[in-house]
Symmetry: C2
């Protein structure tokens, strides 16, 4: 079996183990067993537990960022773009709960250099959302344009809300990715003021 | 000087050191120096670096929760309650940046049992916001009432957004607590849909 394939199997096993048991409690024996390889081979390919964890964070961060980017189609109106991006985000985090646990919980709770890896991914997603809000404002011909700083703050708020909601959705039985995305869209687009009056964001039928 | 006063001085010094230099890098020598006491006295009163850090997290968590609860007056309309609660939250985190860094960054990035302390505080704040949204829905005579699960999701989203925005506001020079609270209120109450059309949430003059 080629090395690249073996490595992915090791990373699959590692993400599952780190995500479910936590970074500290996870053992290299367990990861090797789950991957169906010998422990020396894991060390040979991925060097150390720290390096293996870093490789997991990078892989999961790239996969999540790619999923969100692929979800938002630049041709759609702003709210549809946001809706599609959020659906992609919640679908990805629901389908990869261990990957999300690695990024949202494990990578941030075991100090540096792991936390820095997640900060980099997060900054990229915040920049993406900032751009999306700026385009939405332009589309709405909002005049004057919202201050750059306000848009940056809104993007930070949106990303924080989505992170929090994804952790909650994964921990709450029976909340689907689509429901989580709809709650997020209601919150972020319609706002509580409208929701209290019974005016939700109207999700497209697709 | 009574022990209780000395302990508070030690905690003041510890919160500042942990918040600014991080849990790992902070030394007990530094903390004792800053508190103006001997290192053995810090160990005598607070036992270990771990226990000192835990005491910091608990004190800062209680202070933050108390500030938010004191901010929201039960007699006000829902949006005013939320506005006052958010102002209290952003004022407190702006005035106590080291305390907020301890809670939001340090306590969550150095494993258990520290992360569990913050989860407890967070659960309390989420429950408080859930209650606030339920009351708001009742006030608006929303019929049928929003599903409990939807409200729980909205509360998670709101708390995640506020956490994220507070970290951003503290890291961005020139963003005042009131501006951060206004951005948050615009996001959470008016929603991006209204903001894009130029309809912000109208802050009370006070």
């Amino acid at each position: 079996m080629p090395r690249a394939v073996r490595e992915q199997q090791m990373l699959d096993a590692a993400v599952r183990t780190f995500g479910q048991r936590g970074y500290r409690a996870a053992s290299m024996d367990e990861i090797a067993d789950l991957a169906g390889v010998s422990k020396p081979l894991v060390y040979l390919y991925l060097n150390s537990k720290e390096d293996l964890f870093t490789a997991c964070i990078r892989r999961e961060a790239q996969a999540l960022t790619a999923a969100v980017r692929a979800g938002a189609h630049p041709g759609l109106p702003a709210d549809r773009q946001l809706w599609e991006g959020l659906r992609a985000f919640f679908t990805h985090t629901a389908q990869n709960p261990d990957g999300w646990a690695v990024l949202h919980l494990q990578a941030r709770t075991h100090g540096e250099p792991f936390a820095a890896e997640v900060r980099t991914m997060r900054a990229e997603i915040v920049a993406f959302v900032t751009q999306l809000i700026l385009v939405a404002a332009r589309e709405a011909h909002r005049d004057p344009s919202p201050a750059e700083r306000e848009v940056a703050g809104l993007a930070e708020a949106l990303v924080g809300a989505a992170e929090s909601l994804a952790a909650w959705a994964n921990a709450t039985p029976g909340v689907s990715a689509k429901q989580a995305a709809a709650t997020m869209m209601n919150f972020a687009w319609a706002g509580l003021g409208n929701l209290m009056e019974g005016r939700s964001w109207a999700a497209p039928k697709s």
